[in-house]
Every structure is written in C-alpha cells, then in structure tokens.
Amino acid sequence: MSQVQKSMSLANPAPPFTDLIQKIASAVGGVGLLFMVIALSGAGAIQNSVWLYSALGLIMVGTVVYSWRAYMTKPEGIKNNGVWFASLSSKGLWGWVLGIVLTGFYVVLYWFPQYLGLGGEDAANTGLVAFFDPLSRVLSGNPASQWFVYGTLYTVAILSFGIKFILKYRHNKYQVIRTISVMFFQLGFAFLIPEIMQKLQYPYYSFTNMWPLNYYFFYDWNLTTLLGAGNVGLFMLLFGLAMIFIISPTLTYFYGKRWYCSWVCGCGGLAETAGDPFRHLSDKSLKAWKIERWMIHGVLVFVTLMTVAVIYSYYTGDRNVLITKPIAIGLIVLLGAFVIAIVQANKKEINLSKDKLSMLISGIVGVIILLAIIAYFTGNFVIDGGLLRSWYGFAIGSAFSGVVGVGFYPLMGSRVWCRFGCPMAALLGLQQKFFSRFRITTNGGQCISCGNCSTYCEMGIDVRAYAQKGQNIVRASCVGCGICAAVCPRGVLKLENGSVDLHNKTTELKAIHIAEGDIRIL
C-alpha cells in the first residue's frame, strides 16, 4: 500500500450525524460570535454589558448543548469515530480555514491590537476591546486591553470545551478530575485573581505562571513593581522563587511534569480542552523527535542566557554583560567539575543509561568547547542583554507561543508550543526524565501494536514503540494527559508513580517470556 490516503473511503464515511438540537446549538454559539464580529466592526448599538454577557453566554451554551447531544446520547466510551474523516480534524479544508483564522487573530492581537479597537494613551477603546470594557471594569476596575479580551475568550474556551471533554471522557475519572483542575486554575488563578488583584491595587500576578514560562519574571520592571508593592509584592516575589526552586521540583519529583503541564498550566489547559479534536495531528516520526529535542532545549538555553543577562543588568544597570577571560575560564572549570561529578556519581548509584549519560555529557562538553574557543580568540566578549530580551519576547514569547502555538492547532496538533518551544516543559522534562517517580507502565505482553496510543499522543511520542516491547515509557516530553492509557483497547498503559526504581524506570522487568524465564522479548 504505497498510497497515502487521508481516507480510503469512496462514500463520505462521516455524513453529518448532527441532529436538529445540535444544529440549533451551533446557531446559538454562532450568534454569540456574531455579536463580537458586530462589535469589532464598530457598531455602537451593542456596546454594553448585556450584549457582552449574552455573547459569552451564548457561546458557552451553544458549545455545551452541542457536546451534550454528541456524547450523552451514546454509551460512555472512547469516541474517536470519524476523527480522520472530518475535514476540520484531518487537515481538510475546514482545518486549514480554522488554522488561518486563528493565526491571523494572533498576529492582530500581538502586533496590531489597534485593529481590535485598543485605545491609546488618551483615547477610549473602540470595537471589540471596548465591547469587553464592562467586564474588565467589574473585575479590575480598568478598561479592557487586548490582553483582557484574549484572556476572557481563552477562559471561555477552556471552560466550554472543558465541559465537552468531561462529557466525552465521563467514564474516565482521571480525565474528569484533571479537566476540572485545568478549568479551575484557568478561571481562578490565571484569569480572575490577577484581575481582582489589580482592583485591590496590587500588582498583576498569576501564581501559577512561573519562570521560565513567565520569562519576564526577572525583568527590571517586574522586579521593581513587586518590590514596590509592600509585603504582598514581596510575597509574590518569594512565591515565584519558591515555585521555581522548591514547589515545582518537589511536585515533579512526586508526580512528573503532568502536575503542571496537564493539570495547571493555561497553555496545557487550552490544548487539552479546545485542542483535543486536534491531538492526533502531532507528528510521531523519529525525525520530528530529533527536531523537537534541539528546539525545545535551545529555547531553554536561550531563556536562561537572557534571564542571566537581565538580572545582571538589573544589578549593574548596564544592559551589556561583559564576560572577561577569567570569568570564561572560571565557567569552564566549573562545568568541567560538574561533568566529573556526574560521571563519578553515575558509577556509584545513579546508573543512567549509556545514551542518557553521553547525551548529558556531550551537551556540557559542547558548551565548554564553545566557551574555550571564544575565550581563546576574543578574550573578553559582550552579551547584549537588551537585545536578547527583545528577541526572546518577539520570537518565543509572541510568535512561537501564541501565533504558532495555538494558530497551528488544526495543522500540527494541539501541543506544538509545549512540544517544540516551551522552556518550562523543557526544564520539567529534564527533571521528569532524570529525577521523578513518574512513568507510564506497560502491561506485560498485552500490546497488539494497534497504534491508538501513538496516534492520540498530543506530544507526538511513539508510545507504541515502547509498549510493544513491554517497556515502560519515560519520556521528557510526556505531559501525563493519560489519553494513551484511555484509548488503549487492551488495557496496556497506566500512569504510575513509584520511587523504588527511580533510576531504572525503563528496565525490562517485564517483557514477554517465551521460555520459562530464559528468553525475553525485547
């Protein structure tokens, strides 16, 4: 079968199985969106709170009623019929249309907010931004910004599609609880609390958004704001640091990065709810995995460098970081000692696999060589912190996480940002791989290599490659959404935490014997 077909069907295998109620529900949601389009066009007649709340309400009601009819009229279970036939979810015409619309929306949002009606210094908001003013005034006391419009729509999407997801997976308690969690953290911690804090004259602060995802945490303006806001500001600063250095590593040790990526994080929240219809579009090839590792760790290095430069300039007041020869040599010695320490520790207890160890060491040695070359040839060199910062904000903060991250849902799956770009995911991933109790366990020899797990992995992990060998899955990128375990028709996968085999999580304890313990299937 050399032909690669999207659907080999001659007939339309996915006739519109929508009933009358679903059609009405779609229309109701559509009317809600229409209000926003009318507001965007500048019609003053609907610029008041009744229209705004109606619009938001209609969108939510439409989505929920539609999904209720889609799932509650059928027995509970896996609902993937026709996923690869529907145009929207299989990169068909509607998929491309949605991709282009979303991408366009993000471009306008980030770089041309005036077209959404954002007012200037003295000018009042108009259009869509003004449409959201009433809600913004209730929450923060200020008129809306384009970010408030975005945050509201984002939250509405997570709530509506979260309910849809819960109905779809109502037989699976892990999925239900996890989805309630992302809805809760989005509504409370990412949306309402930061807005209300502003009303109470405190700095805008989202407790669940930590460095390095929150890349501006160490920016001078943020540090100045927090330090200038009394005890509350100080608490926010300390909490942010505790998140990075204590809370997050501890939770990741116990539960893997899923505690954040698929239970708390807003980016993950949108991917898991609104992005769910597109999760199978992630690329599972080995090539994609190779690209992913370079990209995501590259971003992590980028954000770390940028942050170091930013903190340096905060203290020195100079945006340029000067690296003198002695500093470079010091760094080389430090990194060299680190490599020796790892090799020694590994001999004794850590027992990293050869692959992992050589990966880790070659990475560090690469940096050492780079530093040595620069130090040898140039002596002193300068890192322009300001430049790094503005490039990071543009390329990663806006273009990657927003435009590509969500805009490409219908084309590359729902976790493009989380998989290829998020430095938080990279950091938690390293910890998950090397120092966490979390893994996905494979159930002995029960795998039938069907491919449902790999297909529905939003992170593009080829889960089947491990499962069919009877091997546990320990991958830095796994966000622990649990869908592989849910769609498995043979009960082969389980998300588990355990400390006894912390450094040997993939050892083939299991495997499928063929002769009384002599030979095992690899």
Binding site: M1, S2, V4, K6, M8, L10, P13, A14, P15, F17, P75, E76, G77, N80, N81, G82, V83, W84, F85, A86, N172, K173, Y174, S285, T441, N443, G444, G445, Q446, I448, S449, C450, G451, N452, S454, T455, A465, Q468, G482, V487, P489, R490, G491, K494, L495, E496, N497, G498, S499, V500, D501, L509, K510, I512, I514, A515, E516, I519, I521, L522
Partner: protein
C-alpha cells in the same frame, strides 16, 4: 545464509527482527498483501476513522532498509523444497537457505450457497477492509454471520457509520464457547445497548443473489429473509496453506511443526496462525490464531534458526479483546464450562458492565485463572500468582497489586473478597493497596 519469510504479519516480522538481532543473515520478507507490516488488529480502527493506514504501521518505512530486511511483494505459488526455491505467481523465483512460513489465516466458509458472491467477505486482510470500504457506499444494511471476536468488530465498524447491522450467532449466547455464562450475557447486553440486532440461536442458510452476482439478502435456518447489501463471514478462520497442496510439506489443518517449529522438511519452519503443533502443550490447542502466540513463535523460531535451539513454550495463557466499550482480559485457565475441580469467585458491578472472575482449584486452594471485563489487571502479577500456584486467600487479600485501572478509578478489591468471605464463611480483609512500589517488590520477590 539467506532466510526467506513468507508473510509480513506479526509472526513473520517478529522472526525477522530477532534474526537480525541475533545474526547477519540475509533476510527477505515476502507478502502479497501490503508493502509494509501493519497491525492486523487495527484494521477496524481504519474503517472507523480512528486511524489512517499509515498509523497502523508499527515501524516507520525506513526501518526495514536500516535493519537490512528486504521486502518483496509477490504471491508464492509453489515451494520447491528440493531446489530450495520459491516460485512466484508473477513468474520469478527466489532461492533460500532457510524458509519460514508465516502465512496466517483465511476466513472459514462452510459451503453456504452464495458464499462467493460479491458483497460477501470476511475480515482478515487489508483487501478485506478495502472490500468493506468499497461496498459501504450507500449501504443500508449488513448481516454478519458468526459470533466470535471478528464478527463483533465488524458490527462495531458498520455501527460507527450508522449502518444497521444484524449478527447471526449459532449459539444461544455470544461467544459462550469461550466465555463463562455471566460474561457472555454481559456481552449480549452490550451489543443490544448499542442497538445492534443480535440474533441468537440463528444460522445462515443461504445468501441470495440479486441477479448481478451480488448478495442482496440472506435466508436463515429459521426461514427468515433479511435484505442486506453486505454479508460478513466471520465464523472463524483456518490456516492459509492452500498454496502448499502440491508440496511435500506435511499439513493437517495447519502446517505440522515440532516443538522447535520445524516442519517435516529440515530448514523449513512454520509459525503463527498457519502452523499446527504436532504435540500441543497440555491444555493448549494445536492451532492458536492469536496475535500473542504468533509473536512468541516469531521469536522462538529466530533462536532456532540462529543456532540457539529452544522449544516453543507459550507459557501461561493470556489474551485480550474489546467488545464495543467493554475491555476484556484473561490470564490462565478460565473456561466456558467450569471443570469440576475449579471454583469461581465472580463479582459483577451493579451496572452490569464490569466484572472480575477469579478461578481456583477447590482442593488445593490455588489460583488458576482471571477473567476481567471492564477492569484492567496486571499481566505479570497474575502470571506470577498462577505460576507459583498461590493460595487463593493470598491473591484476594493482595488483589490491589493486580489492579491496572487508571488513577482515581473505583476500587472493588474488598467487594471481590467479600464474595469469597460469603462463600467460605470467613471475614478476610484486603491487605495490599494499589502501589507501584509494592508491585515492584512483589515482582522482584
């Protein structure tokens, strides 16, 4: 040395992979079905739109060249055992030093009138799927003949596209030749709950020709006529060995093999669905057309060919399936009609869609088998208990070790134990909770 493998299913491919791990022999896999290995068990998901064909391939297409496994499309018409040569329908031929036959199964047909009409098909190969797809256009009704796993898969496939289905099952309850009565009844309910027309105790008599060589209806033994545009024949399978009729390779229902999977001709081996054990292990059948046994035979034959003789030993029986939305797993000895010396502990969820059955030997009080519906159990834990002839009370008290359900799922261990308590007038309590650390310690013990 050149090793030719006929068949690129799970058996043949596993054999090839292990031969490559163990040696540098030249390997050629021959298939008439597809260019690359795909998971046969996933065919249904292609039709239902869960996956595309390429998603069912367990290895990416570069895998074969990288591992120096040659792939050849072609239909072997004749095996020249004396000249060690395969002769293809296409006219060419291929020499081998050792040959592995892994040709799989073909659906049973029992001489029904009309069984070879168009719009009548089994579900085994990729071509069967294509036929199903081709005739699904405008299809108003399908009839499926046979009450086995594939019959229900086929029903689920049509059902996913809202095509009304009738299943004719000869027995008076679905799959009751394999499943104990309670589990069989649960599947009946599940089928009916999904609005699939389940006709128990009903058999096919003939398939009616519409005058154009296509099926247009079936007539059952009871005289019922059901109009339909597709007839699925899923009354079991048999080894696909017709091409060996004129060879001197000894066959019965399947290709006869010894404990080392060798046929009567040296250097020719047979594995998977197509082979028949001359002396099956106690309690096992000569032909086991199962994914898992095919995989084990593939590995075993690789060792035998690469100079490390090892007898085929499939170990403790296990299998799994999914009946619409109910998952099924079995470990060890669970039979439809319980032998005298066995006793069952059977727990069923009040909603009737989950059950746990644990069988044990009444005299020895040793656990012998697990049958799970809608509940997942750990393979290695169940296997270890059975292998070590563990006392039933130990098993029941530690049942948490076996549970493999996702986190936060309801626990039923004590309810299962209470059934035993009631039977025996005892008052035991569950000891081990669900925890990977404890499972790990148990498996290492």
């Amino acid at each position: 040395m050149h090793i030719a493998i006929i068949g690129n299913g799970i058996s043949g491919v596993t054999a090839a992979r292990f031969i490559r791990k163990l040696s540098d022999h030249r390997i050629t896999i021959i298939s008439t079905e597809t260019d690359h290995f795909f998971s046969r068990t996933a065919l249904m998901y292609i039709y239902m739109g869960h996956m595309r064909y390429q998603d069912t391939k367990p290895y990416e297409d570069w895998f074969w060249e990288k591992n120096r496994i040659d792939l050849k499309r072609g239909y072997v018409e004749q095996v020249d055992t004396a000249g060690k040569k395969l002769i293809f329908k296409e006219g060419d031929s291929l020499s081998y030093d050792k040959l592995i036959l892994a040709t799989g199964s073909t659906p049973n047909k029992f001489g029904w009138p009309g069984q070879d009409l168009k719009r009548v098909n089994g579900l085994y190969s990729y071509q069967d799927l294509e036929a199903m797809e081709q005739y699904s256009e405008g299809l108003k009704k399908a009839v499926i003949v046979g009450g086995g796993l594939i019959g229900l898969e086929m029903a689920e496939m049509f059902h996913s596209r809202h095509i009304p289905v009738t299943i004719l099952v000869r027995e008076n309850s679905y799959w009751n030749g394999v499943m104990p009565p309670e589990e069989s009844a649960m599947i009946n309910r599940e089928i009916i709950r999904n609005h699939i027309d389940l006709q128990l105790g009903e058999e096919l008599s003939e398939i009616v020709d519409n005058g154009k060589g296509e099926a247009c209806a079936v007539i059952t033994k009871s005289g019922q006529r059901i109009e339909c545009g597709y007839v699925g024949l899923t009354a079991g399978v048999h080894p696909n060995i017709k091409f060996l009729e004129n060879s001197d390779i000894e066959t019965k229902r399947g290709i006869l093999v010894d404990a080392h999977l060798q046929t009567n001709i040296s250097d020719i081996y047979a594995i998977g669905d197509c082979c028949e054990q001359r002396q099956p292990k106690p309690g096992r059948r000569g032909i086991e057309a199962i994914w898992y046994t095919g995989r084990m035979m593939g590995e075993t034959v690789a060792y035998n060919i690469c100079g490390k003789p090892v007898a085929y030993n499939p170990g403790i029986w296990f299998n799994s399936a999914k009946f619409l939305d109910i998952e099924y797993q079995v470990y060890g000895n669970v039979q439809a009609r319980q032998p005298e010396e066995h006793q069952s502990i059977y727990w069923e969820h009040p909603e009737g869609n989950k059950s746990i059955r644990i069988n044990y030997d009444k005299k020895q009080n040793q656990v012998v088998g697990f049958n799970l519906m809608g509940v997942r159990f750990r393979h290695e834990v169940c296997e270890k208990w059975i292998k070590e002839k563990t006392h039933i009370e130990t098993v029941l008290k530690d049942l948490g070790l076996a549970n493999f359900d996702p986190e936060f799922y309801a626990k039923h261990e004590q309810e299962v134990l209470n059934i035993y308590n009631k039977q025996q007038g005892k008052n035991l309590a569950v000891k081990e909770e669900r925890s990977w650390n404890k499972v790990f310690a148990f498996l290492k013990s």
